[in-house]
Symmetry: D3
Subunit: 193 residues, 6 copies
C-alpha cells in the first residue's frame, strides 16, 4: 500500500465497475467536476457501496425540518470529534457551499460552541455530539432540550441518524485511510466565478 494512495485498498478502474456504480460516479463527476474519493475507494466492494450511498441519500436528500446546511454541520462536527480527515475536509466544503459561508465549516469542526451559528443549531450539535460519543446515555431530557428549540421528533431522528451514519463513514475512512480530494480544501471559500 503506497504512500500517496487514496486508500489502503485497491481502487477499481471506472471501466471495471458495474454499470450502476459507474453511472453514479459519472453523475457526480458531471455535477462536481471531479469524483470524490469516497466513491472511488468504497467501490472496492460494490454491494457495500450501494448500501452506503442508498443510506446516505435516504438521510441527506430527504425532506426534513433540517436544512441541508444543518445536516452538513452535523457531519462536520461529529466527524471532527472522530478525527476523520476525509469527512471533515469533504463535508466542510459541502457545508460552506450550502451555507454560502466560508467560515462556518472550520468553526464547527474546531469548536461549535464558538461558531457563529444560532443557539438552536448549537443545541442540535450538542445532541449530535452526544449521539456520536455516548449514545447509550441519551435520555428523555436530551429530547426535551431539542423540542424546546422547536425540533420535532422526526427532526431529532434526522440528527441522530445522520450522526449514526457518519459514525460508520468515519470508521470506514479511518480503516482505509481515505484521502480527501485536493479540490475539497478550497471549495466554497472563494466566490464562484
Amino acid at each position: 500500500m503506497s504512500t500517496g494512495a487514496i486508500s489502503r485498498y485497491p481502487v477499481p478502474e471506472l471501466a471495471d465497475l458495474p454499470e450502476d456504480i459507474r453511472a453514479k460516479m459519472l453523475e457526480v463527476q458531471e455535477k462536481a467536476g471531479f469524483i470524490p474519493n469516497v466513491f472511488l475507494t468504497l467501490a472496492h466492494r460494490p454491494e457495500e457501496f450501494r448500501a452506503f450511498f442508498a443510506y446516505h441519500d435516504a438521510l441527506m436528500l430527504r425532506e426534513s425540518g433540517l436544512t441541508k446546511a444543518e445536516r452538513e454541520m452535523i457531519v462536520v462536527a461529529t466527524s471532527s470529534a472522530n478525527d476523520c480527515l476525509y469527512c471533515v475536509v469533504a463535508h466542510g466544503a459541502i457545508l460552506r457551499i450550502y451555507a454560502k459561508n466560508p467560515y462556518v465549516a472550520d468553526q464547527v469542526a474546531v469548536n461549535h460552541r464558538e461558531a457563529q451559528i444560532s443557539a438552536r443549531q448549537k443545541a442540535m450539535l450538542d445532541f449530535a455530539l452526544k449521539v456520536a460519543t455516548r449514545s447509550a446515555e441519551i435520555v428523555e431530557a436530551d429530547f426535551a432540550a431539542l423540542r424546546a428549540h422547536g425540533f420535532s421528533d422526526e427532526d431529532i431522528w434526522d440528527i441522530g441518524a445522520i450522526t449514526a451514519f457518519f459514525a460508520l463513514s468515519n470508521r470506514m475512512a479511518g480503516l482505509i485511510a481515505m484521502r480527501p480530494n485536493d479540490e475539497f480544501y478550497l471549495l466554497g471559500r472563494v466566490p464562484k466565478k
Copy 2:
C-alpha cells in the same frame, strides 16, 4: 413515549408496511419464530430500513475468511464497548447459536481478554475495538498485527466494516431506546429440543 415501548418512536403495524419490508419481516419470523425489534422499530423509516438491511446483509452474509461466529463476536464486543443493550443481547444470542457455545457471548461482551477464544480471535477483537473507539489512530502496524495471525486484507476490511456498521447500529439503538425481544436472552443457552 411510554415506558415499556420497544422504541421512543412509533412502531408501524405490519399491515401498513410496504410489501418488501413486510415480506422481509415475515421471512425472519418464519425462521426465528419472532420478529426481532430492530426490524419493527427501524421500519418507521422504510427507505433507511432498506439501506440498513442491505448493508447488514452485504457484510454478514457474504463469503469471508471470518466465520459467522467470528463476525458476531465483533458485533458483541464492539456493541458492548458502546453499551448498546439491544445489540449485545440480540447478537449475543446469534453468537451463541453460531458458535454452539453458551458461554462465549457473555465472555466477549464483558472482557474479551479473558474469553475462551483463540489468540487469533483476540487479535481480531483488539483491532475491532480500536476501530470502534479510535479509528483515526489505525496505522499500518495494526494491519501487520492481524496479518501475522493469518488474516488477509479482505478479512481485515470485513472486521473494520462490520465494526463500522454496528457503530451506526448502536447509535440508532441508543437514539430510539430500542428494546431487545425477551426471546433473545435465553436463545443459545440451552440445547435445542
Copy 3:
C-alpha cells in the same frame, strides 16, 4: 499458569485447607450445588479469604433498606463498569434469582438507563457508578438526590460500601484472571424444576 485454569495462581485442594474455610466451601456447595470459583481461588491466601468473606457477608446479608436483588444490581452494574467477567457472570446469576427476573441482569450490566427497573433503582445505580468511577467527586448533592427517592443515610452507606467492596473484588478477579463457573451462565434464566 495454564490457559483453561480458573486462576493465574495455584488453587488449593479442599483437603489441604484450614477447617473453617473447607466448612464454608462445603456449606455453599450444599446450597448452590457447586463451589463458586471465588471461594476456590481466593483460598490461596486463607487470611485474606476470611476477611474477604467476612466483609462480603457483613454487607450482603445484613438488614437493609435495600432488597437483596437491589444489592446485586449494584454489584452487576459496577462490576460491568470495571469489565469484570467473574462478577458480572456470577452476580448476574444471583441477581436473576433474587429478582425472579431472567432479563434484569443483562440489562443492568449493559445499560442501566434502559433497564426495566424503577426510577429509584436507576438513581441508586447512578450513585453507585459514581462511587465506582469518581468517588472523590461525591458531594452533598449526590446524597440529596438519593434522599429524594426515599433512601436513608444508612441505605446510602450500603450502596457506597457494596460498590467499594466490589471495587476490591473486581480488581482481585482481574489480577488472577478468575474464571466464572459454567453453572452461573444459565442460572436464573429458566424456571426452576
Copy 4:
C-alpha cells in the same frame, strides 16, 4: 452533616463501642499518640470495621517480598490516582516514616515517574496503577514485566491485593468524606526528637 466533621456519618463515642473495637483503638492511640480518623469513622459499622482491619492487617503486616515502605508506596500512588485525601495524607505519613525519607511520599503521590525510587519500584507502581484503573486489562505481559525485576508471583499478588484493598478504602473515604487527622500532615517530615 456539619462542615468540619471528620465524616458525613455519625462518629461513635469510644465508650459506646464494642470492647474489641475500643481495644484496637486504644492500642493504636498508644502507639501513634492519636486515633487515626479511619478507625473512628468506620466504627459506625462495627462488623464492617472488623472485616476492614482484618483485611488491612492481613496485607500490610504479613511477611512479604515487599518492604513495608514499598507497600505504603502502592497505597499512596494508587490513592492519589483516586484523589483520596485521607489515604494520601495518612499513608503519606506512614510511608515517610517507614522509608525514613521526607520527600518520597509527595513524589510518589504526584508523579511516581519522577520520584527518587528504584526502577524496580517504578515498575511495581506501574503495575499497581494499572490494577487501580484498568484491572480488566491485566495480561500475562504485565506479570512478565514484574518478574523481570525479580518480583515473585506472591509479591505480585501482594501488589495487586494491596491496590485492590485501597480501591475499597478510597471509595469508603470518598463516600463519607473522611477527614485526615491534622497530625498526619507533618509526621515523618522532621527528625524525631
Copy 5:
C-alpha cells in the same frame, strides 16, 4: 459581553494603548494587512501582552533545527487537540504560507497520522501531542524516539516549549472566546497575486 465580539473582555482602542504596544500592532498590520485579534484582545492587559509576545517571539523567531513551518505544525496540531478555534484558524494560515502548501494545515489539525508530511515530522507531532496532553508521562524513551529521527536535544526543547506556550495561548483564547479574523480562513489557500 455581546455576541459578535472578538473577546468576552473589552478591547482597547489603538489610541489608548501604550506606545510600544501600538507600535507592535502597526508593525504587524503593515506586514499582514490587518491586525490579528490576538494582539487586540490581549492588549486589555498591557503587561501580560508584553510577556506573551516576548515569549512567543523567543520561541518562534529564534534560530532552530525546526523550520518555521514545522513550528507552526506543532501549534496547529496541539491547538486542535485543545479545540482552540483562534489558534487553529490563525496558525493554520501561517502554516500554509510558510509551507507553501494549501493542504497541510487542515491535515495536521484533523489527523496528523494521515497528513502528507515526513515520518520525522509525524514523530515530532507525536511528541508535541504527548507534551500537550500528558506531559507528566514524558520519559527518556520519548527523547530517544526523537533523537532517532535526527532531532537534537535543543530541537526537542523547541518542540516541547512551543507546545507549552500554546497550552497557555489556547487557554487564554478559550477564556476570552477569542475570535479569529475573517482574513485567516483563506490565507495561503490560493496563489498570491
Copy 6:
C-alpha cells in the same frame, strides 16, 4: 542526562549567566535562602527565562481581587491535575506560607472538594480546573457561576490567566523533569523560628 539531576538539560553556572538573570537569582536567594530550581533550569534559555518570569510576575504580583494565597491555590490545584511534581511541591510551600495554613496545600492538591476552604474558593478552583482541562468548553454560564460568588470579570481573567500560565509551566517542568528543591517539602509546615 544523569539521574539525580535537577533537569534533563544542562544547568548553567551562575557566573556564566547574563547579569540581569544572575541578579534575579541572587535576589530570590536573598529572600528565600536558596535558589528555586525553576530559576536555575530555565536559565538554559535566557530569552525564554525573561519572558517566563515577566509573565509570572505580571500575574502573581499584580493588584487583584484574589489574595496571594488564592492565586497559589489555583497553581497547586491545576498543577496537581497535570501531575506536575515541581509545581505542586514548590507552590504548595508558597501556598502554606501565604495562607499561614500547614494543611491547605495538600488538601487542594489531592481533592479541593474536601479542602477546608470557602465555597467561593471551591468555585474558583472548579473554574480553574475547567480552564486547565477543557478550556474550549468555557461558556457564559461558567462566568455567571463565578459572578454569583462576587468575582469581578477582572478576577475571572486572573483565575483563567494564572491557570493558563501554569499550563505552560507544568509542561516545561514535565519536558525537562524539573526537580523541586528539597527545601520546599517542609516550608510552611512548622512555625517559623
